[in-house]
Amino acid sequence: MCTMIAQQVKITGRGKSGPEWFDVREANVSYDHPYDLPLEHALNIDFVNEAMGPGARVAVELSVDAARQLVQTIQAVLAEADQRGVLEDCPVIAVPARDPTTA
């Protein structure tokens, strides 16, 4: 892409692509050309499972304002959960992942 501003973080979670859920193992965060949002550059987040191939991807493309609001909201929700003592930091129980590209 034309900015090449991209970082990857290893994560644990599930994502839904089409009718199927799958294990997401990485989040790719970039500020570069989006595919669908009508902006030159956007904050793009791809939740992926690289081991399952390029099709295992849940994508969002956000404006800068939307991305900043999302970050603040996530932090606020986590802070409230922490304050109320309900935060859980447990790993997702591993089950055989389904490949949405072959579902």
């Binding site: 034309c2 990857q8 970039s30 050309h33 030159e40 191939g53």
Partner: protein, 254 residues
Amino acid sequence: MAHAYQTDQYEGMIAETVTMRGHNGDSINAYVARPLGSGPFPGMVVIHHAPGWDEWYRECTRKFAHHGFVAISPNLYFRDGHGTPEDVGAKVRAAGGAPDARVLGDLDGANAWLRSLPYVSRKIGIFGTCSGGRQAFLAGCRLKGLDAVIECWGGRVVMSKEELTPNQPVAPIEYTKDLSAPMLGLFGNEDKSPTPEQVNQHEAELKKHGKQYEFHRYDGAGHGFFYYDRAAYRQDQAVDGWKKLFAFTDRTLR
């Protein structure tokens, strides 16, 4: 001009996916479109943009064939897996783009593939937009056997030290002295990558080394103003840009 078609003129085209040898002799796929007939036709290497080897680039490859070129668009993301162009492109975006060395090897392979064909003349150009524009300029400097270079809004031809990565270890502008073919550059003055200031630097370096080039810089246009499937499309500027492009190839490749 080659693109001044007449309504009573015969024309035909074949377009298909082929296999070619790329970097390190790897087998990769490519999309080829060519006019029917024995030629000889000039060749065009068509470098897809960063979002991927997608439908716009299929149509662009056929557009060159419609204008009398044997055009080949190698899949520069072949080694990154297969799926929809968006999914594969997103994977490469996350990896910081395709490595320059590998891209150059694939583009050299595409040039060699064209030169092996009996219906291709000895004149071959290279065209690219976005990251492909950058790679077209890079190819014009680093590869032999290209007769025209068309760079459309190549981002990161000018790179700061902080932007250099293992995949793109050298700013292409550093190679300007080695540019070995006439060059056409098309840019939008509202672009953020490259910015007008970066285009100024790019032009100054070409002047400094006495290179044959022409730049056309459009007001009211930003990045990707040829892409009719994106909000960036600018009809006036795109139509004029294509006219400038084919006038350039008439002079350099025919």
